[in-house]
């Protein structure tokens, strides 16, 4: 035999859809329209923050891996994605050092020290954001920018609060009844949907996030169970809980779509069982709405997801898949 034949285990073919690197790239691609739109809304500043965050993530990943004596895997795109998502969760007016600290924390403490990609149990970007929230709360909640051709609140004349802030404390800004009415007004909802209101860099346009998210569900990277569970339970609570915001207002404001489509669905930190993914999504939806209605913060998306991340191992343990042929209908007989 002139050449050695390769002997390897079956199967001998692999799905062409995507490997990890391609999957990361596809998620990034799905977020790019939002990035472009946000740059248009908030100016080049938003783009710079995103770039700083990404570069810090990648550099931190490489350096920590180097120091831990591991293979450097920055080419897989996961650090880029973490940086991007972290920046998307920052107000556009934050000082430039903030994303540096945030993504360094995300990569070094929330990801690499747990063993790197696949082993971290909480979403690094959200951990980075939570860390910044705890350490520099004023920078994280005050540095809003009004979008071009729009207002921060979505309401003319009120420029110092985001819509969810307004909903939480309307009396700080004027006559609460009028403000609430204006918030639930069709024009405000439309601005929210298209994204012409203030907020974090990546949570502006519900429409673009929806398009990107649905694209990821269709190609199978994002699991529909988490998204539907999240949005479904959220909608249900928005309808039955005593909140001043209308259903559409709640749906399109804040980071709900960014969270439901792009962060709760993070592979590593969400459950692997099918039932578990339903529970996880539903849990996120319930917590988000509870925080919005009764919590101390106007927005609850990222804390809800973080909290559910912590429960992920437990959910996995409690919800096994049903093995084919397992006797299930014993009782019925």
């Amino acid at each position: 035999m002139k050449e050695l034949l390769q002997v390897s285990a079956s199967p001998h073919i692999r799905a062409k859809y995507y490997d990890i690197n391609q999957a990361m790239r596809l998620v990034i691609i799905a977020l790019i329209p939002t990035l472009i739109f946000s740059t248009y809304l908030f100016g080049i500043r938003a783009l710079i923050i995103v770039l700083i965050s990404i570069i810090t993530s990648v550099v931190c990943e490489a350096v920590t891996q180097r120091m831990l004596g591991k293979e450097i895997t920055i080419a897989d795109g996961s650090a880029v994605l973490t940086g991007l998502l972290l920046a998307f969760n920052l107000p556009p007016g934050v000082p430039f050092w903030l994303p540096i600290i945030g993504s360094a924390f995300a990569i070094i403490f929330a990801k690499q020290l747990f063993g790197g990609l696949g082993y971290n149990f909480i979403n690094p970007a959200l951990a980075g954001r939570a860390f910044l929230m705890a350490s520099w709360p004023s920078a994280m909640t005050k540095e809003w920018l009004a979008p071009i051709n729009g207002t921060l609140s979505g309401i003319d004349g009120i420029t110092s609060a985001t819509p969810l802030n307004l909903l939480k404390n309307p009396s700080n800004y004027g006559d609460p009844n009028i403000i609430i009415k204006q918030l639930n007004d069709f024009t405000t909802i439309k601005s929210l949907f298209i994204g012409k209101v203030g907020g974090c860099i990546g949570e502006t346009s519900a429409l673009l996030l929806l398009i990107g998210g649905v694209f990821l569900i269709i190609i199978g990277i994002v699991d529909y169970r988490i998204v539907i569970g999240y949005l479904g339970s959220f909608i249900l609570l928005a309808l039955i809980l005593p909140t001043k915001g209308s259903l559409l207002f709640h749906l399109f404001s804040g980071g709900l779509f960014l969270g439901a489509f792009f962060m709760a669905t993070d592979w590593v930190t969400s459950p692997i069982t099918k039932k578990g993914r339903w529970i996880f999504g539903i849990g996120c939806g319930i917590l988000t709405m509870l925080i919005r209605v009764w919590g101390g913060y106007p927005e609850g998306v990222s804390y809800s997801i973080l909290l559910m991340n912590v429960f992920t191992p437990l959910i996995d343990r409690l919800t096994k898949e049903r093995i084919f042929g397992e006797i299930k209908k014993e009782r019925k007989k």
Binding site: M1, K2, E3, L4, L5, Q6, V7, S8, A9, S10, P11, H12, I13, R14, A15, K16, Y17, Y18, D19, I20, Q22, A23, D76, G116, L117, G118, Y119, G220, I221, D223, W267, V268, T269, S270, I272, T273, K274, R277, K320, E321, R322, I323, F324, G325, E326, I327
Partner: protein
Amino acid sequence: MAKGFSGGVHPPEEKHTEKTSIEAMPLPKRVYIPFSQHTGKPARPLVEKGAEVKVGTKIGEADGFISSPVHSSISGKVVDIKRHPHPVVGESLCCIIESDNQDEWEQGVKVKQNYESLTREELLQIIKDAGIVGLGGAAFPTYVKLSPPKEKKIDTLIINGCECEPMLTADHRLILEYPMGIIEGARIFQRILDAPRLIFAVEDNKLDAAQILKKEGVEVVILKTKYPQGAEKQLIKAVLNREVPRGGLPMDVGCVVQNVGTAYAAFQAAKYRKPLIDRVVTVTGDGVKEPKNLLVRIGTRAIDVINHCGGYTNPPKKIIFGGPMMGIAQFSEEVPVIKGTSGIIVWTSSPTFQEGPCVRCASCIDVCPMGLMPTEIYKFVQNRNFQEAEKFGALDCIECGCCAFSCPAKIPLVHYIKFGKAEIRRLKQK
């Protein structure tokens, strides 16, 4: 109506030879017939070096209940009995026969028989003596499957014409070209089992085959094209919506599944007393000049088969016996075609996959047709925690390969799970 089971994948079909008629390959100069070609104990050699044999001469006798005899596939002389590369077990004892080019058949073989009047026991004996095993790949002795214990009443016989493995077309061609033989064979099984219902299962990418069978008046169920539709348990689920219990067999839900090739072989055994000495093999892949569906004598070496198909296009990198999902990569082109060889795939390039960390994407879980959590099993096997691996159902794995196929981290999950299964069994025996 297309039906299905949960999980599964859609690998590219690449069934390039589906329009190529079955062609009988000329006699090879030598055959290398292993005594072990089936699940169970190898056959006991009956001939010695120097013996003259004809086509159909029994050269190995079944040894025990789960075993099967083997027959000479050409006429000539036994030149040696020694170890030779084997497509499944690496190496095994083989009877090497040199052809006298006469193709002289054993007495009584190929003479038309009237089998309609035979009793069930007689038919069963014929199938056993003909050395018939499952031709779908598992090579389980057919007569064993046809002899369920008395208390297991079989109500349905399913003839499996799914051929869900990509690239393979042998069964498809067989249905198109020999539908009557297959149907007759199926009726023989049906009689032996005393099963009231006979169903042919075909995937909807072979509607022409389904049509032909339907025209003959048999019940045909058309299933969605999805891998592994042809796996026994998934097939029964899709056709009858019955679930074989864990650790159980199809007969536990009143079913027996036989492959179309097996049915055809049984027909030939009953009608012509012809033992299983040849089978249809799909020879394909970018490494063979003329891909074909070939009727090959058992024991013909891969290299002879490939040479008959015009030889290699370019130096081969990988030779697979079976399909791309479950087939076995060979280390030598000397390996012979055995009863369970459904295809020979030759590739001139073979991508190697860089194994990454598990990113918990759960694709493997979503596609596993057995409802397992391959990622968990693989992690337990890696940590040599075989007890947990078993608790998570490692032994239920049918090694279909869906999980590894769809894993974005390219983890060879099946490889780990197979190893885990072997270890679990070994620990149990202790």
